[in-house]
Symmetry: D4
Subunit: 217 residues, 8 copies
């Protein structure tokens, strides 16, 4: 288990991370962590490793792209002084290109995505003990699908950055592909993005497996 | 223009037809026809052919399959004595097989779909002056997609019945495919089913074109 | 078809244009264009000309007079840099003279109306590729009706300005008069102003016909 | 003053009478009489003639036609044993012919109106000490207007019945016409039917004048 | 009739005046005048004297004492430039002494009341054509009641000021006393202050009688 | 202390007793006893005599007269098998005579009040170990006040019945009079009936004093 | 893994199971399984064993005791024909003895608990392939605590029945005790009963471990 | 009785004091004192000592620790110029250490608690006639419980400060312990902190007993 006693674990991202967390704190009583993978990660950390006392903080905000993350990075990430940091961003960067194709101001194309994300990682990596980079994903089995193809390219960017900056790389798309082999995408999400609890468990398991979580402890 | 002065035009179906119509009447003041293609069809009939005085009635109910239609057919269709009747059903018959695959009780497989729909048409055709059969559709460009394939088979059933019982056949899937050639499906509907106004306009145009609506009148 | 690939088409006006659009953007996901003629125009443009990728923006605000338009013109029109612009204003300028006749501060009489509108058009015409001027209207068949007479005079102002500044002129009153020949005004609007979907279709058709929309494409 | 000490005065009608009265009682504490002319009539009776102790009951129901009145007559009028009875009905009988002209089931044409109303009056007149018949009205100055013409015909029916059955006849249309001579109809009601407090005062005064109310007492 | 064509009549006061008027305007469409005596006064002025076109404005605010009036006088009265002004204030000045006797900060004793009111009248009288001063009242028949006694003293202050500054004096308490002779106070108001429509009619009649309103016009 | 270990103490009455208790049970978790004197009585019994385990049940219903009590007596009192029973009824019996004097159907005059209450007590007294009769009250200091006089007569009825049927008699009016000697009635209740917590404490103390509650235990 | 392809797994219980599931179905789209351990169990089964297609059904109802379960057993359990059944009941049976000790009607003492539960198991065991019995629990570390002691006795009953009827026995109390060794009970639940996501994960893991769930698959 | 005629009695604290009081005033009409012990104290003072006219003010705010009190002390206490002051603080200072143990920023440990509270008392004692210090409490009978132990230590701090600064010391924990001897803690509060009316009565009695309240007056 890579996280150590008393560490602060901050997760940042878009609506998949947000899941109706309490704002602005992102931690505390009464479901403050929202109802998605962050609360599952916290629930599993506290129930399996209660002795470690990991402090989990959710700083996801629905609709965010990497451009939005950049604007609030200082306040929502750096100032929080996390020991471990997890980032999952990029779905909205891609989605807006496909659901509102004519409103180009809202599209974050791959060059801006890569440059912005890399800069954030570059600056932040030295300040944290561990950094987890999760790919954006699209719950579409057909790899020839236009939006899936774009999403895969963004996932490749995440992978490269993770390798270059000593991050834990979580391939959420690959984790979902295993399930999509058996279940049609609509079973996991009507809009191919916002998943049911099943989908959040897929993300949770992929993430925890990367940080040495022992399921049989 | 096939509809004649003073005729009653009843449209029945699922949520695509329903669109928050007033219940149980499905006609009257204050947006009683809902906000989908039925209200567009009515708006165009009244604005272009005000002298005909066509009475449009919306009897769609969200979530309905052909199995549900059968249960309320006597009350919601036959007892209403329409002159013209339009039916669009089948999306939920297929969708439940893909979004809740383990709850098989709710699946309406193609044999039941065909048998039920055919029986309703057989009984009803002699009682109306005109009958329009619209295919169910799926806003997925990839024809190899599992749910799209199934939906196409249901569409084939509709086509065969339309031919055998002297109905106007509206191929909504084909109409949408023309648009999907240019726009990614997410532009039309996040869930590939419930469309934006653009999608309702596609249906509206396909339907009106079949009944001799003169756009340049 | 006068609009060209990738152009931005902005429509500004009062409650007839607004129709509960999302504010302040006036474009985007989830019914952002409201439920009136702007969403019909957009739905028809996207469904019939999906290859053009026209970006439609709704900047209507309920209750606005031309005096209000002037205050927000820089921000809501000029700064948006539209390629095409459509304006329908004047109904409230007239209506307040008839529904609250004693509160004269809120009346925009015809001199102010003409001067203000002309100045906005004068400044803006050079900045856009196309400009559509729609008359205000009143759903009252009786041309001797006092408010109808006033509204017609405001419509004349719009016509003159349209001619002088090379604008597309849409005579919504004339379009409605054709329907009022067959239907009593209450069928279109209880208050003779805010129309049912039928009325919005009348406006939509009048507008699209002026910009070369091909209904049979 | 024609009403005597301790009498019960029941007023029945449609939305003009109803005005959000408490149901089913139509009397009691906390604004039970609604906020229209019935509460004004009551307020004036109690404040000017407190020594009479007139009991005012409101049995108006929004949307009612004379066909609806007939159905609830036994329960809402006869069983209440009023000393005085006031009836204003007919606006919806006419309006539905003009706002939803194709839904003919909901139209109450003049023959049915006359026959039904006459029968109710015939039966009820002997059971009450006084009976007031108020015409339906339409806040449209133009007497050539189609709906105004029809409403006037219904008003004529009321007049004839009032004369034949010894009722107080209140010509609300005539009372409104005096005001419409000075004020445009929109000042009194956006939909030419549901009036502002000004309109309810017009009705109140016309009614009270018929029963010998002394304004200068 | 003392009010003349085109004049503005502003009424200011506490909750009896306010009655849920629209804020901040206090005039306009949709019940903007609230549902108390101000709307009755307006309804009677427009229905009986429509040719005068009196503009009625309601500037009552619930809970106000004369101390509160003073703070908003410049903005809510002077800046509005009324031709006629009506003031009814003092109920809360007295009431707080009786319902929350220990919170003395909120009591406006008679010296402060008199001095403040007189100063407002002194300054304002020259700026208006007519000024109406209405007494505060208490719906308690027993003149020995402690709060009634205090209220009567405040009423005396109003009377004196009215006489000294050429104002129309409306003795609302006296008007109510006539009714209280016949009806127990609970019939007019559960709390002896906020009246039913009957009570608002008492105030309306007392006020209109002072300005020469002709009820039989 | 007259109540014994494990006894059930049921209190029945009108809105003073009800105070938003949970219905129909009138006992249980989460404020089930409402927020008036019943919850105070319970709070004091449990906090001072926790060892007795008295089960308190609230069966008050707002607006009730003795006529209403009679209708639900079998279900709400007898079937509950209380050991001790407390009754406070009569305020609405009197109040309706004064706030809606013309609706005589709702008045419960003193003969009906006495007869009904006596019969209920007669039947019930043998079935309970103790029975408390509380007078209705009116928070009006002036004993010449008409409604106060009537209320006092009803209180006399309660007193006589209490004496004849071996009940604990609680004179709530007398308890309130002591406070009204110092505080104006508006301090205790705006409507002279529904009291503040101070008023509920007056009732609580009067009641507990009658059953031997030891405040200094 | 003991569950096999296509099996139906029904979980019944109280609020811990319920967690705002959709009623009455307890399965389907849109969070139908609630937000507690049942949705976690389902999410893990579908994400780790998607190929099995286990159908999970939630039939928990808040506030239920074993007495309530008995009443709805035929409808909610037997008629559903589950392959596997999980039962967690008893918390409310005990809790009511401690939070409302005087309302004895609502207490389900251990004899009734044992008899009722045993009878249900006896009847149902032969009809299902697998049956899981989970103990009720109390998030109180102190084993001398009165309510904890009682809860442990109920847990012993569950254990005995599980052994006698060939059920999987899940000791939720023991699972929680491991966590309570590290975390104070308030961290898991303010009321020591309704847990945070951490507590639901404890239950989920205890349950899944008993049915051979392979966490490292 | 230690409080004297016309004195102001201010009570400050956390949610136990707050109980939904009106903010920011904390006094006035309509339940302004909330529904907890402050309103009971006020109700008893006014009903038993109406002649004293004690002014009770509630300045509790839910969730407050002593750290929060310090920030608002000048505004909410000093500026209010109370004659008597009651303080109950510390529950949240302790609770956060047990319900969110990993969010250490929100914990107020005993050194900070003591230092802060002492400083506030030191400064304030000379400005008031009487000062009441109430201990925080925890409704847990088991004195070995970790959170109970901590709470007892905070209670000891309060006791010491009370002795050193001539304050009335109210041992709420001791008062509750007497009740917990008979009733399980869940009867008083599900979360062992926020009490039912019974618990608020315990606090009320403990407080009033310290200031010489005569229950038998």
């Amino acid at each position: 288990m890579k996280l150590e006693k008393g560490q602060k674990f901050l997760l940042v991202g878009d609506s998949i991370t947000d899941c109706d967390r309490v704002k602005p704190e992102g931690e505390g009583l009464f479901g403050a962590l929202g109802n998605g993978y962050v609360s599952y990660v916290d629930g599993l950390l506290q129930s399996v490793y209660p002795e470690l006392g990991i402090r989990v903080v959710n700083k996801g905000i629905s609709g965010n792209t990497v451009r939005d993350l950049k604007k609030r990075w200082e306040n929502d990430v750096i100032a929080q002084k996390p020991d471990w940091l997890s980032i999952m961003i990029g779905i909205n960067d891609v989605w807006r290109q496909y659901d509102t194709p004519f409103i180009k101001d809202n599209h974050v194309y791959i060059e801006e995505y890569e440059e912005t994300l890399e800069k954030l990682i570059q600056e932040t990596r030295p300040t944290v003990k561990g950094l987890i980079l999760m790919t954006p994903y699209y719950l579409e089995k057909n790899e020839e699908d236009a939006m899936r193809q774009t999403m895969d390219q963004y996932g490749q960017v995440v992978k490269r950055i993770a390798e270059n900056y000593d991050c834990q790389f979580v391939n959420t798309q690959a984790a979902f592909d295993l399930v999509l082999h058996e279940l049609y995408s609509a079973t996991l999400a009507w809009d191919r993005v916002h998943p049911t609890p099943t989908g959040h468990m897929v993300i949770t398991r992929a993430l925890l497996n990367k940080i040495g979580f022992d399921w049989n402890k």
